[in-house]
């Protein structure tokens, strides 16, 4: 089965042409990254898949049905650009927010939030409030919150964009590990080439407005992905190809 299938999807906001026809599929259990510069419509693409926005034309199929239906069934774990932790909830309470909300949908019995928190090294901070955490820690809570939902599909919108380079590297290593532990399909959006290569099975490169897929690259690097992989010539080779595609998409 395919987790996501976009065919001929376009999006306009008034006179702004955000997305040109897009065709993209994400297979079950696959990690696909959409790589593109700011303003290429990455976030819009993610919102379309998440059922938070309707396409102007074309069809969006998520988990075999309509995106809105997947959203209503809580089948989508969303990681926004900002961690969006609720400041009045503790780390542990934030980690289980998506489970607490919309109880009309029965709980799937995904991984326990507490275990996930332990997994990302935040056990000692379970009772802490978001303002007591560093930026990287907050984003780790946001990841746990999404994984704890136990959803078959995860959508991630540049979750590490606001972090420093060292923390970003740690976070992508952590995310790769979490993805390998769970069998969920992931659509990840970023402007970081290293992030896209390290995490993905496949990378689709988006051009500047209107966003259009200028090419896709299969990342045939061994799993589980280890941090040392980033010093490997094979890693550089994929990075180089993606950089070339990005330049092509930017019309340079």
């Amino acid at each position: 089965m395919t987790a996501i299938s976009l065919s001929g999807v376009t999006k306009r906001f008034g006179r702004i042409h955000a997305l040109a026809p897009i065709d993209l599929t994400v297979d079950d259990g696959e990690v696909v990254t959409v790589l593109g510069p700011s303003g290429s419509g990455k976030t819009t693409l993610l919102r379309l898949v998440g059922g938070l926005e309707a396409p102007t034309s074309g069809t969006v199929t998520v988990l075999g049905g309509d995106a809105g239906r997947a959203r209503a069934a809580k089948q989508i774990g969303f990681v926004p650009q900002a961690p969006a932790l609720l400041p009045w909830r503790t780390v542990a309470q934030n980690a289980r927010l998506l489970l607490d909300v919309n109880r009309r949908v029965p709980v799937r019995g995904g991984p326990s939030p507490d275990e996930l928190l332990a997994d990302v090294g935040l056990s000692d901070f379970a009772g802490a409030y978001p303002h007591e955490l560093s930026g990287g820690m907050r984003q780790r809570v946001a990841l746990v919150r999404a994984f704890a939902l136990g959803a078959p599909l995860l959508l991630m919108d540049e979750p590490f964009a606001a972090l420093d380079e060292i923390t970003r590297a740690d976070m992508r290593h952590l995310l790769a590990r979490l993805c390998e532990l769970s069998a969920t399909s992931v659509l990840f959006v970023t402007h970081s080439i290293a992030e896209s290569v390290f995490l993905s099975d496949r990378v689709a490169v988006l051009s500047l407005r209107p966003g259009q897929i200028v090419g896709a690259v299969d990342v045939a690097l061994p799993r589980p992905r280890q941090p040392e992989l980033e010093d490997d010539p094979a890693f550089f080779a994929v990075e180089t190809r993606l950089r070339a595609l990005l330049h092509e998409g930017a019309g340079r």
């Binding site: 938070l52 959203r71 969303f78 969006a84 609720l86 400041p87 009045w88 909300v101 919309n102």
Partner: protein
Amino acid sequence: MTRPRIVLASLTGLAVFGLLWEGLVRLFDVKPFILLAPSEIVAELGNAPARYTEAALVTARHAALGVIIALVVAVLLGAALAASRFAEQAAQPVLMIILVAPWVAYFSSIAIWLGAGDPPVVFLAAFVTTPAFVFAAVAGMRSADPAARELLASVDASRWEVLWRLRLPSALPAILAAARYTVGLALAAAYYGEGGNLSTAGLGAIGDRAAAAQFGPALWATVISTVVLGVVFLAVITIAERVLLHWHASQRDTALPRSVR
């Protein structure tokens, strides 16, 4: 500043104020009805403690009930207005009119409409405090983190859940800040309502009779009793802020060094 120093500073301020007041009244031999010396107010309160305590409890009940009703109305109305710009624009002028209308003038109409006793007094206290609460509730609910709203939408949270889990907690700091202003207003409205009402209970009723008889001690005893009620109300709000807003930046000691504060 350390806590003992804060207490010391506050007490010093009050003592200086009280001594100046006492001194000026004695020095210029001010008539009791115009301004009564603090020592004589204390003596009057001591003469009939039960009378003033009972009256103060009545006034406290009127004001508190009014504020609570206004709060509930404001949260419900605020949720509706925060959801629709059109409704907010439609309600804005009406709330403004209520906010600025001279309630001292129209209270007799309310008293005739609702009759004697508690209803007109509580109604007035609730009516005059509602607009400030509504403005605070709408502004606070609108300030809810858009990313968090998107996150809740991603799991199809109901409107009610978004209100309960996100909008209301986001509005709490603004609502409690508004409460600091509205408790004073509610007490004034309750006091005035008790005076202009046909009932005989409450500090306002004592004050009204004292004013009619130009009897200074009773009048000033009710003024001070109302002040004490106001201070107690503010203390309650401060405690509520400590408990409910412990997560909010306003309740944290700044960790910044003195030089960059």
